[in-house]
Amino acid sequence: MRYALLVMGAPYSSQAPHSALRFAHALTGQGHSLDSVFFYRDGVHNASFLLTPPQDEANLHDLWQELHETQGTRLDVCIAAALRRGLLDEAEARRHGKPGHNVAAPFELTGLGQLLTVQQRCDRLITFAA
């Protein structure tokens, strides 16, 4: 089956992204495909490439990126929720006159409409709320 995940919890302060990643690996391990992960609310913090946990802890940003590289999963981030929380890619940083950015491919800033499109395209959308 074709799956998508909605992740609404921040890394480390919420269990949601960690559980979502474990679910993602279980899914693909059983032969299902994981089309997309959509990050909303505090879940947008997963997209920051500046996440720097201690070396003996999992780096959630890097684990999402690895999922994209091995499974081709899209990593969509709600742009309104992201900007509000200080997550910007290079183009948004330039547009808003900010001195730096912390979001880059394979994460993509996109509208909330993308969540509805993904849900239409997939057989199942599983929510990991905070």
């Binding site: 609404m8 609310r41 509208g111 909330l112 409409g113 709320a129």
Partner: protein, 121 residues
């Protein structure tokens, strides 16, 4: 799963619980703006979102009531709320915005059964 193309959006956040409610209502508006048939069901603490007479200007936060009032323009005319969730919070029909419809447990089941897709916030 139902064949209907109705999108049921379930909202369980009270106003001023961070921006949870605002970001949930955004999803409602986007769904409606995409031309989908959207059904709004408020549950639990979400009952307070429908309370009339909320004053704006809670510390540093915008009021969400104007967004609730705007839903009708987006063809979201009925705002469903389980009657039990209202009464246990001391809210009667007179306390709630006019387009609230109080429903019993059976009707709530029906909303879930008839929905083609569901998003829960």
């Amino acid at each position: 799963m139902s064949q209907s193309d109705t999108l049921l959006i379930v909202i369980r956040s009270a106003p001023h619980d961070g921006i949870r409610l605002r970001e949930s209502l955004d999803a409602l508006l986007v769904g409606a703006a995409f031309g989908q048939s959207v059904v709004a069901l408020f549950m639990g603490q979400g009952a307070f979102a429908l309370k009339t007479g909320q004053s704006p200007g809670a510390p540093g936060q915008k009021s969400t009531l104007p967004m609730i009032d705007m839903l009708e323009m987006y063809d979201i005319e009925t705002l469903y709320l389980p009657e039990e969730d209202a009464t246990c919070r001391g809210l009667g029909a007179d306390d709630l915005v006019a387009n609230t419809r109080l429903v019993d447990a059976g009707e709530v089941q029906g909303l879930f059964r008839d929905a083609g897709r569901i998003l829960t916030f």
